[in-house]
Assembly symmetry: C2
Homo-oligomer: 116 residues x 2
DNA sequence: CTCATGTGCAACCTAATGTTGCAGGAGGAA
DNA sequence: TTCCTCCTGCAACATTAGGTTGCACATGAG
């Protein structure tokens, strides 16, 4: 079992959710879907243009979908892709936990051997 | 309940584990503790100096500890801090899951109301 | 039609990541 | 000790991501 190798898309997915501003944007879009670059920019400490760039990144990795509505462009979270991202977070976290658990057990067994 | 606000240290912890090279380094150090900047650099697609910079970042947020051993400097993972980082990953992931779950349920209840 | 508002594009700034190059310090061999 | 090797640390530089300002364009409201 070697789940060490992540594909390129997965790596891009991770870097997409690695940015704190983008995570905040996802939170906002989850709370109130259909936000635009302008509406999100008003709720964030960055300009509309910065938000637009982040939306482009999130769109490229499929975490959000754009819907043209007249002169404005509404964005919605793609639940499936976000679930995939959440799974990656959980995967990495539990991999670390498992590794630490093994190390802890190894240390204990060495201690037992020492005692004997 | 508004666990939205993360402290500054927590945010730095996130950005520390946000970098793919640093996550790889943590994996390597978990697999074989006591690695040096040079030994890690040989196992990674970056130079020793780049690794040293990453180690400085990880050291600053407390994810690793340095141990001077003669002319070389061995690094070890701080299990407590890594566990904290893993908990943050899990927290964000489950928050998303919960949010999506609520949206899904809302959609279903609206559908039921429509049908009636 | 006119005007306000949302969007898109380009230039620029700063910080992070990575590189090359070089100086210094600790261990081992003659 | 002296010399040589290897690991570390620091500085200068290139590249890219995140952010800002400024401007041109399009579309809906009046």
């Amino acid at each position: 079992m070697t789940p060490k190798q992540m594909s390129k898309v997965d790596d891009e997915l991770w870097s997409a959710i690695g940015d704190p501003t983008r995570r905040q944007m996802l939170d906002l879009l989850l709370a109130d879907s259909g936000g635009t670059a302008t509406s999100l920019g008003q709720q964030l400490p960055v300009t509309r243009q910065a938000v637009a760039k982040h939306l482009a990144v999130l769109d490229r990795v499929g975490l959000v979908n754009a819907t043209a509505a007249g002169r404005e462009k509404r964005y919605h979270v793609d639940a499936a892709q976000l679930a995939k991202a959440a799974a990656q977070l959980a995967s990495v976290g539990s991999a670390w936990d498992a590794r630490m658990q093994r190390i802890k057990q190894l240390a204990e067994s060495m201690q037992r051997a020492q005692k004997k």
